[in-house]
Amino acid sequence: MSEDAGPTVSRRGLLRGAAGTAIAAGGVAAVGTAAGQSGVDFDGWFSDVSNFDGVVDRRGQGEVTVEVGVEGNGDYWAFGPAAVRVDPGTTVVFEWTGEGSAHNVVAENDGYSSGDPVREAGTTFEHTFEETGISKYYCDPHLAVGMKGAIVVGDMGAGADAGGGSPGGISLSEGAWLLVGSLGLAVASPLLFAAFLRYRRGGGPSGPSEETREQLQRVDEVDQGPPRAEEAPVEKPETTIEHDEYDPSGTLSLVLGYLVLVVLLWVFMYFVEFLGRGPTVIG
């Protein structure tokens, strides 16, 4: 992959960093290896394209075929091959395989499009690439899952093209190191605290503290055990009222308050939110 990790923190990068921290804690220096380059910088275009495997060289051919709907990205949601290198002036024929629902070919910047997505196998769309450069395209319905491709027109970056590579080693930004560091510190803090306690006690005998021991001794001397609780005297009620004389008016007002609230919510939800908004299903 030609993606550049850059200043962003990806989950994979973070995990890699966390693993690196563990290695570093073990006293082994983690050595980052340089990210592989495919010679052409697609600027992350292929970072979520599962079937991208470097730039396929088709120079020297007047007409190049790219299949639309080959296996990839979790279904038949890929262009095959995803990246092709052609000579300027080459006509690229996109040919539908009929797999993976309806597809289309839409240029990212260069204006060409095959129109509405179609499914029929054997559908073709042609475009002639005259200008040197990278022409990125995608399938509109399946852009989100990574159905993307690119045509590299001309010799740019050729020679160094070794079919891509995977970024290895550790390349984390400052923020990522901070995150990984604080995570490591959080995990290590109980251990550090335990070590601190052990150090402070100095390996002395364990048991109740000086104060507790004194208290226990006093209890032993008195020889009465803990003090017993005394029963509180039963007080006579000042006034006694009958059942009907008791009026919980506070509770009643609370109930009436809730009633008003429920009725308001009911009216708002059913008549305003449900019936009052736009068309409704009537059949």
């Binding site: 990205n73 309806a102 509109d140 989100a144 899952v145 059942h243 009911w266 409704t280």
Partner: protein
């Protein structure tokens, strides 16, 4: 058993609320005529829909006029678009009664006209059928609300309710 008169008050309130709720449902069904989406749409072979050989209007989905102010709209919801709806908006005139027929050739989708209660699941092999009155000119969004795969969050479409005078018939699909 002796029941305090205040307790009698709130028992009566609770009963009144229940009667009120039931009355609301009855009003919704009889007044505005709110209906549930049922099995009236029938079943269909999803493979045939996928191949475009179902022998139904789903082979060429779109808007069909069935009466002076009545339209049928056939929609195929597939990963990850509504056809029609996504690539080109579904266009119907204001003041029309529109019956949607929606099915899926692949996985379960959802069909919801955003902000309204026009809402159904779209299950492969089943045709969801629902009728809606579009009284006023408006532009509605359609969203898929059943997780249908990696591109689910991009699956949306548009319904344009245009003035009667500007409507130039169902343009096909």
């Amino acid at each position: 058993m002796e029941i305090h008169r205040f307790e009698k008050v709130w028992i009566a309130i609770a009963l009144l609320l229940i009667v009120g709720f039931i009355a609301t449902i009855a009003y919704g069904a009889l007044g505005p005529g709110v209906k549930m989406v049922d099995a009236s749409g029938g079943t269909i072979d999803p493979e045939a829909v996928a191949a475009g050989e179902s022998g139904t209007a789903f082979d060429d989905p779109g808007v069909r006029q069935t009466g002076p102010n009545e339209y049928d709209v056939y929609v195929v919801a597939r990963q990850f678009q509504f056809a029609p709806g996504t690539s080109q908006p579904i266009e119907v005139p204001a003041g029309s009664t529109v019956t949607f027929h929606i099915t899926s050739p692949d996985v379960t989708h959802g069909f919801n006209i955003a902000g309204t209660n026009v809402n159904t699941m779209v299950i492969p092999g089943q045709v969801a059928e629902l009728t809606v009155d579009f009284d006023e000119t408006a532009s509605y969004g359609i969203v898929c609300h059943e997780y249908c795969g990696g591109g689910h969050h991009t699956m949306e479409g548009t319904i344009e309710v245009v003035p009667q005078a500007e409507y130039d018939g169902p343009g096909g699909s």
